[in-house]
């Protein structure tokens, strides 16, 4: 078995549909400009559409066009609001496939770095079991909110973005960036569960969050260990984590701004070994790119143009 694989090589059973996540990648580099966001999403509309065909997101595309991805990313999920049910299913499905990729990332760290210290292997092996349980937990939570595995397309960009060939960069990407994102999302979901009086979701998510904090701590400790006496490597690991975090911000959807779709879990991250300085930097990264107001305006324009186009198509057809 070779060392190091590409994200395209991740194996799935026939329930899964694969989709390139160009929206998140491109949003990471967008300026805070309504027209730029609208132009981009009109250009990549066919790719977004292709990723929804044959999935539960197809009716959402038919109704809102390419803007539906922005709508699901940009707004916080609150109980009782329109679209909450669909967005919750999409988020649970996204977390489920994210856990699957985290499981695969931890497993590959065991195989890809056979000469790593024994304690590192122990930590990665433990993470394999934890992530395996998380996959099982989120399969059940997905069913709990009325969804099922494979109902939406899977993007493997978490694995792609986080799995580097240097173990210091790998743990910076998988354990600090990816697992850090998981902490943010789970803390937000715990709040949602509390507001919805959903004790089942609240308790299981809280256990998962506790595991994720442990995994972030593994990352914090191993980056320090792998990079001790090597400031160059430490800088590369920090830059890599920063770049991965930029992509995981989904164009500012994860930020420290008021009303962010995914708020940064500041206290949880501190507990897991992030410094104040790193958190300030993460918050600054979240402030880059299109603001929430810009995204809202872009969504309105995109939806109205898409619906007007659909109406003309129907008229021509009739």
């Amino acid at each position: 078995m070779k060392r190091f694989i590409e994200h395209q090589e991740l194996a799935r059973d026939r329930r899964f549909i694969r989709q390139a996540n160009i929206a998140a990648d491109l949003l990471a580099t967008m300026p805070d400009d309504v027209n730029a966001v609208v132009d981009l999403f009109e250009k990549i509309g066919p790719v977004i559409e292709a990723g929804t065909r044959g999935t539960a997101a197809e009716p959402l595309y038919d109704r809102f066009g390419p803007a539906f991805t922005l709508m699901t990313l940009n707004e916080p999920i609150r109980p009782g609001e329109p679209g909450t049910e669909d967005r919750l299913k999409m988020r649970m499905h996204g977390i489920y496939v994210g856990e699957l990729q985290a499981l695969e990332g931890a497993g590959r760290s065991l195989w890809d770095f056979p000469d790593a210290p024994w304690e590192f292997k122990m930590n990665m092996a433990r993470q394999c079991w934890d992530e395996a349980r998380h996959v099982q937990i989120f399969e059940k939570l997905l069913e709990h909110v009325g969804g099922e595995v494979g109902m939406y397309a899977e993007s493997t960009f978490l694995f792609e973005a986080a799995c580097a060939d240097d173990p210091a960069l790998r743990v910076a990407g998988v354990n600090r960036a990816l697992e850090g994102l998981a902490c943010d999302v789970f803390r937000d979901n715990i709040e949602f569960a509390k507001q919805s009086d959903d004790e089942l979701m609240e308790q299981s998510m809280d256990y998962v969050l506790a595991d994720e904090l442990t995994h972030v701590r593994f990352g914090s400790e191993w980056v320090a260990e792998f990079c001790k006496d090597d400031p160059e490597r430490l800088k590369r690991a920090r830059d890599f984590r920063r770049e991965t975090d930029r992509r995981f911000n989904f164009g500012g959807a994860r930020s420290n701004e008021e009303g962010a779709a995914i708020p940064i879990a500041w206290e949880d991250r501190k507990f897991a070994g992030f410094t104040e300085e790193e958190l300030e930097d993460l918050a600054a990264l979240g402030g880059e790119g299109p603001s929430r107001a810009t995204m809202k305006q872009a969504i309105e324009i995109l939806v109205s143009r898409f619906q007007a186009g659909s109406a003309i198509d129907e008229e021509v057809a009739s």
């Binding site: 078995m1 194996a11 497993g107 760290s109 292997k121 394999c128 079991w129």
Partner: protein
């Protein structure tokens, strides 16, 4: 004048109602001293066992990404952790067997042929080879290890080497569970004659290699 100081339970108001403790009440220890392996041999065997457990959990980790069946991925997650703990427990035993503190992280293949055998078990790569991957571990390698663990427990000094027995008891119990899980998965995956043949072919091929290598300790021929 102070009273004579007495032992607890012997004062006139402190009489106990039970018979005094007696060594003759303890059943006779039927275990015998002396086993098949001396300290050095046990240390080498423990390093060999550790090598197999360590490489097995590493290869299973690598396969998580290339096995398409989700229940297999999640089932392997726990087996990987238990494999790592097994290797860790073996490692902790080594300094107790005069191998030095640093030995806790050392693994050693029984011989080069066994190291090559391990690489052959780990060779299947693509998603269509789940049967070959799992047959190597659950039909060949783990049953071989279980057999040797049980044999070591039987044949080593039951009193002097009890700490190794204690470690092996726990690992053997878990290995039995792993094998049962692996067989259940393989039985489900091999739902046609062609697939069952693939499983048996892989099993035959690897068993032959394993026997040629002399097994995890390199002494398979001597053990029989």
């Amino acid at each position: 004048m102070t009273e004579t100081r007495m032992y607890p339970g012997t004062g006139k108001d402190e009489r106990t109602t039970f018979a005094p403790y007696s060594a003759f009440d303890i059943p006779q220890d039927l275990r015998e001293l002396h086993g098949r392996y001396d300290v050095e041999t046990t240390a080498r065997r423990v390093r060999n066992f550790r090598y197999a457990e360590e490489w097995m959990m590493m290869m299973l980790g690598g396969w998580l990404a290339t096995v398409p069946e989700v229940p297999v991925k999640t089932g392997l997650g726990k087996i990987i952790w238990e494999g790592a703990r097994a290797a860790d427990e073996f490692g902790k035993r080594l300094p107790e067997l005069r191998c030095g503190k640093r030995a806790a992280e050392s693994s050693e293949a029984g011989n080069q042929a066994f190291a090559d055998f391990i690489q052959e078990v780990a060779a299947p790569e693509t998603p269509d080879l789940s049967i070959e991957k799992l047959a190597g571990v659950f039909d060949v390698l783990k049953p071989h290890l279980l057999g040797l663990y049980e044999r070591h427990m039987r044949e080593t000094d039951q009193i002097a080497d009890a700490p190794t027995i204690e470690i092996l008891e726990d690992i053997a119990r878990k290995t039995e569970r792993h094998i049962a899980w692996g067989h259940e998965v393989l039985d489900r995956l091999c739902d046609t004659d062609a697939k069952r043949q693939r499983r048996h072919a892989r099993q035959r091929e690897l068993t032959e290699l394993l026997e040629k290598s002399g097994g995890v300790t390199g002494e398979l021929a001597l053990d029989h």
